[in-house]
Symmetry: C2
Subunit: 110 residues, 2 copies
Amino acid sequence: MHSPELLKGTLQTILLKVLKDNGRMYGYELTQRVKALSEERILLTEGALYPALHKLEAEGMLKTEVVSMGKRVRKYYSLTPEGRSLVKERVSELIDFIKTMSSVLNVELA
Amino acid sequence: MHSPELLKGTLQTILLKVLKDNGRMYGYELTQRVKALSEERILLTEGALYPALHKLEAEGMLKTEVVSMGKRVRKYYSLTPEGRSLVKERVSELIDFIKTMSSVLNVELA
DNA sequence: CTTAGATACATAATTCACTTATGTATTAGA
DNA sequence: TCTAATACATAAGTGAATTATGTATCTAAG
């Protein structure tokens, strides 16, 4: 697991981008996909995940659809058009940040 | 200026690495060097900088030397041997984190 | 058949690294 | 002479996270 401090500020970007790449997904599914993509390094906690999803929904970046699987309920999230713009913005911010960090730290990212 | 959220957790790493690359430096000088290295993108605030330096010193990662320039006082910081180990650790943590992020976000860092 | 672990959602209390605000003092240039 | 830059420092407040807690369903093992 990563030094969790570094993750701060990256959660929204991760959620938006993974939703963009995978289409509609539900919360638990997002935690599993991120875990797999990161080779167990990024383990999203529910206390961070759900509030973040709710916030993005409230801001109109995500839309939801509740689906019943038998007695179990799943809440699927997907990007709205505004969400789609936001992903691009957030991802390029992060890339820019990473590039800045590599010049400040004087390291190569092969 | 970067979305400041992303900077969270990177301050120690930046300070340690810049000190490693530049030898002994004082606080204000660090802010200026980081500003230059980042092309004005990372502007360290004093409220973050000084507590971080004090903490690293208290933990034995940095040693200080107070130098008087006329009436003005400068406090120079440099790495201790333990500090030198810590830099390596922190930098590789950050590189690892960046690599993880690029696989999760499915982006190339040219 | 029952129970532990995975699945699935959610929120409240707390933490802590940061920002913002404030304070002091020196030096250089317009 | 007064503003901006240099140079240090700390206190109050913020906010995104962690940690803790709660509810409930499904599945596989014993």
